[in-house]
Symmetry: C2
Subunit: 101 residues, 2 copies
């Protein structure tokens, strides 16, 4: 089983993850992506969904038109793990390809 990151490891990982911050009062990380329109926002979600499904690690996310709010945490571990960091990196890469880095 994958282990929760220590507070220090989480902070170090976040430094390299543009846009991601710790969620207040919860062992999780979050980022809000703002795209050009719904087409682009849902395009991002579609690509991120494929990555999530392939790695069997899924986001909590909310979409309102061109905005996608994402929260990542590893349920089984009760907090942020390397799997969240990897999904966050993948999401940033997808967003960057859409011109939102």
């Amino acid at each position: 089983m994958v282990e929760r990151l220590t507070a220090e490891a989480r902070k170090t990982a976040l430094k390299e993850l543009s846009g991601w911050t710790e969620v207040a009062g919860r062992d999780a990380i979050e980022r809000t992506f703002v795209f050009k329109d719904f087409n682009e926002a849902f395009g991002f979600m579609g690509r991120a969904a494929l990555v999530a499904e392939k790695s069997d690690h899924h986001p909590e996310w909310r979409n309102v038109y061109k905005t996608v709010e994402v929260v990542l945490s590893t349920h089984d571990a009760g907090g942020v793990t390397q799997r969240d960091i990897e999904l966050a990196k993948a999401m940033n890469a997808i967003a960057a390809q859409l011109g939102h880095g």
Copy 2:
């Protein structure tokens, strides 16, 4: 411009919309769909996204693994309109085809 439904018209429409209820404290309607897994939940979202984009009327929605929480309201009209009722019906039809009606 599409007009807000009266409270009476909204109630009448909701009677025929399985699973949808009024949102407390807001002129909007909501339904939570629970699917078999993420594949099915995101499949629902993909089909619903195409309907939303085609009609240029988009949901507020949140997905956590197999669950999709949807809130519908028409921003321009400041409340629930016939466009929300139509999108809700379309979502119910998609969910029903996935075995969740």
